[in-house]
Symmetry: D3
Subunit: 254 residues, 6 copies
């Protein structure tokens, strides 16, 4: 682990975009990006841009009725030219791919992890995360952006007296960031070029209180040790704290 | 017809957004909206916003091979919260609706109408029109924006020596606009609120030379006369001329 | 336009089937073609043969309930060997193609354009147009034949006291015909061989009163001018008048 | 079994349409019903009407290539208003039902049963049986009609020198008929009203030589004995002989 | 027929697995194979192994409600490596093949053939037959095994007071077996190697009383005569009697 | 964290099945469960039973050709009555659910994580994990069982000279286990009853060398701290070591 720590402190490691190993890409969060949805956010993390909308609906799916509890669900998709090669539309192919399903479910779990379903009451929030441009970290940007859109939708619901208090529904903030090991060096917030070279790739969603909601680590190319895991978790903590600061700043503005 | 002409000249007809009957909504065309596609345009017509990307690919579909001719095709889709009520994703429903098919085909025909397939050679341009926000006229905005994205993709192809001359491929410009009869009054460029009240609804695509590429008129609620048709065609001509000016201005900028 | 008019009057223009430029193909309308449906028509326009059935059902789709209004809808399909090359069944492919969707929607709009939904009451008419043999103009033959089947279904409904008066439901008759420009010459009612050569192709649905319900003009191969449009509309008027005479004759017989 | 024979001989058993228990419904076979297919037949068995087309194509599916053998396959479908209640299209539902699959496979097996695949060479015959009107026995009428369409397609192929001899490809004729036990009485050729009351229902395809190609007997409502089976097979033999006479007569005409 | 009888009695005919022509493969029926279902059976017929589960549910499908009658339905499927070559999953292909549909329907009809729907009351039994290993006769093994699973589910229902008496619901036992003609010799219970060589192939489901519920005979490769049919039916009777003995023995055990 | 450690050491915590918090359910691994596949394993972890087959095929998917590298992929599915309530088949629903996709992808990644693709050469291994009975931990049992099936398939390939050495292809063993926090107590290997109560739920795949291939932790119900994470990872290490011992023992047997 000594070696890894050393690398982390080593300013001479050059990333393709000149960032330090523990540095986030520039983050921007635009609220009210479109007018129709109750919450509508355009989040940019470097070149990755995701439009996150939150739809607030009175009522819950059938299986949830008469429980007194609300529900939060999410769908993720990529526009065909979000990527450098055009991807066929899943609507045209007639089915949703495994990756899309996997990410949609991840986003839903993350957001549900900070929602008090009792305080939400029998209402539903549907999050839609549509990737306009993809340069790595689209699923983590989706979580981070969807949180802001959800808060806006809850504030709207409070203003329209559909819930008592948006603040009570949201138990904590949530953001997510990717970390990975590139050529033996742990790094924060991987763009596509790094992501495709990573031996280990993790996505980590954390609450404002610094606790974990979701940890997903994969090592198709080389298993990782517990020491490496700990370094990656430290990096993720650093990144998520900054993302949460950006969320707070965006939500403070009017 | 006297009556109709009179109405057209009558400034006292109030539209919900204060426009005159022969006035377009504000148009904005942003080029290079995203980085990955060969052409990427965000077009806004009033509150309607469509992201139009153009993908240039060497080669054509199998049925077109060894013809020496190129191909242009288009796909249209709406994001779930482009509308005031959330619409289910067609990828989730597992099939594409009739309306989507109809509009995709219309856009494709319009763009092909101004392309010299020989000059394009055995290359393909795929247009993707994704509606971020819908307030009427999404199909006509798609045609107008897709033209600009297509020109950008052809310029890119020329710069990369994949075609000889972008200018020779594009025989003329093309734009489209909606017109309709609301409570007996012909009007130009209908937002959703007017569109839903229209007795007659037309979408008209015209070339820079003022000729027609596509005329689609529907009168579910009251048939229209030849006189009314002529008034509507005049309005469409007015609107398309202005849209083409906006296209030229956008394409002139660097 | 002088040139065009001249061509129209010029008997020396030879069509593959020997017709004049403003001449319809032979039309035949057989009512009660099959026994089960409330309306069942076999319409032949030249070699194009379409079986049109009309199903009358009490009740309307959910979104229409308690409106006091009826609904009319249509589905179009081709049998696999309607064409010279066999076409795969859409049921086997598992999805309906864009062309089928587009035509089904067109037929539905046309028929709804002459129906008084209040007089129909909360009842539904479902039109099915199945092409047994295709030789151009299948969509326009479908509209023309479906009208007769619909009237039969309404007469049946009147006889069974499900509606007060078939006559009151049908505000006017409707027929449709194709017109197009072939090698610069405008022509009426294009068979497949002409249709595939057309530079401009229009389908025009008109009421018995001579007003338009639907105008669809496409010019993938060469834009058309307003003068050409006017000649085409004249041709369409000529054709639709004759089709409506054939409809009247068929419906007068018992 | 005495009792059953007795019933068969008993002229006093009344069928809804006045036929005797061992009497076929009127059969009509119209060749060249449409022009495009290599074989096109409209067969009527009572009120059941099926359009059977045969498509002859040079070449076989991939799995059959370089075998020197041909292939015969079939698809069956019902038009939506073939039945007294409208049936949703399988193309609209997006999948083919079990019944359709089962019948398509049955027709294919029956026709293959009389084809010499070597004599056919690497060519394919695709049979399409589309039910225009259904009144029981649609699958057996399909087999009987498809045989005639197939012979016509083979004659066409012989005339076009695509095969040496149509006669050599067809080893024997084939027809099929339904039989069943209604209220204890075995009967031949069941219309819908009888079919729905049958305790036992069999479809039997036989060659001109009187041998079996396919026997399908089902007894959801009451098991049947070997004696009953024998009576039903006798009835089927009677019916198939008459159907084969009708096939011969149709094919003899020019 | 003399010749055929002779062959049947001829011990010198060698089958690939050393059996006599009228000999079943070893049968084993394991009840309570898994714990969750109301009935769960693993049946082995030679190398063919099918897991049959029976699900008892209170209530019937909508179209059956308020009839006082129950319903029995079945689904058949093969695991991807039940066969020597891997078969793609039908869930991945997105549709169920014709063979699967055909067999599912056959199993359902067979089981319904021995159930007294009135005694079952408004309850449903869903049979699932999943082939773990396929070596011919999977559909007949499914019928034979599903019967045992169904009886177990009914005994469970009786014990839970959901029906009065399992015995009254089941009117008789049912089993099925394949028979076929291989190189002119009729044989009982065909493994895959024989099945693929069979000129005639029959599946015959019989009740404990020795009556027929389902007869399916196919002769793609050579038509069969009435004499051959009779020999095959005799063989099937022999086989089914032994299978029913195995069922009784399994159901007698606790 | 003191409190957590204490709980772990506390024998008085009662699990529904009487196990200690750090105790695995009984594991059984049956090789050669069926005959057709190159590798076929039935793994039982408590009441969870999964049939894992490995199919070895020469050649790789198109996108992988001429790379000199092999490929490993996996599919997971549940039989309808693996669960206490019957689940509809995904083949019948016509699409694969998100959960199935997510798990199939997880299994594939895990197995690829221990395979040397160069040593495998251009060959493919397809793993199929079909859950016969589900009682929690089906995805981890699938990983553990699939590893054994894969080794068997590689040994088969070595014996058939399709690869040089099975041992060289498999870089290390891999197993997976679930851990979770129930009422504040971290526990190993959760059956369904515990899984559904877990506040935090992790699935951890480890190599024989004790390194991580996959970590998936989810906390919909209560975020977890770094200390809890560490306890859970310790438990997972304990469990995976025992599972790997069971794998070794199974693979040592002949």
């Amino acid at each position: 682990m000594a070696e890894i720590k050393d690398l982390l402190g080593n300013d001479t490691v050059l990333r393709t975009d000149g960032r330090k190993t523990d540095e986030l890409r520039p983050v921007s969060i635009v609220r009210h990006f479109t007018d129709a949805p109750e919450g509508s956010v355009l989040i940019s993390c470097g070149n990755t841009r995701v439009m996150c909308t939150a739809t607030f609906t009175a009522g819950v799916p059938r299986w949830r009725r008469d429980s007194g509890l609300g529900w939060v669900t999410a769908e993720y998709a990529m526009l065909p030219r979000a990527t450098s090669e055009r991807t066929d539309r899943e609507s045209v192919r007639g089915k949703i791919g495994g990756r899309t399903h996997e990410i949609s479910r991840l986003i839903g779990r993350c957001l549900r992890g900070v929602v008090d379903m009792k305080a939400l009451g029998e209402n539903q929030i549907q999050l839609d995360c549509d990737v306009l441009q993809a340069d790595g970290g689209t699923r983590t940007a989706s979580v981070t952006g969807a949180y802001v859109a959800m808060v806006d939708a809850l504030r709207w619901a409070e203003a329209h007296k559909l819930i008592r208090s948006a603040e009570k529904v949201v138990k904590d903030s949530i953001s997510a960031v990717s970390v990975g090991v590139i050529n033996g060096t742990p790094m924060l917030d991987l763009p596509y070029i790094e992501d495709s070279q990573a031996m280990t790739d993790m996505n980590i969603a954390m609450t404002g209180a610094g606790e974990f909601i979701e940890i997903q680590g994969t090592a198709e190319h080389r298993p990782f040790t517990r020491d490496e895991l700990n370094v990656l978790l430290d990096l993720a903590q650093t990144g998520n704290r900054q993302l949460q600061a950006a969320q707070r700043k965006a939500l403070a503005a009017e």
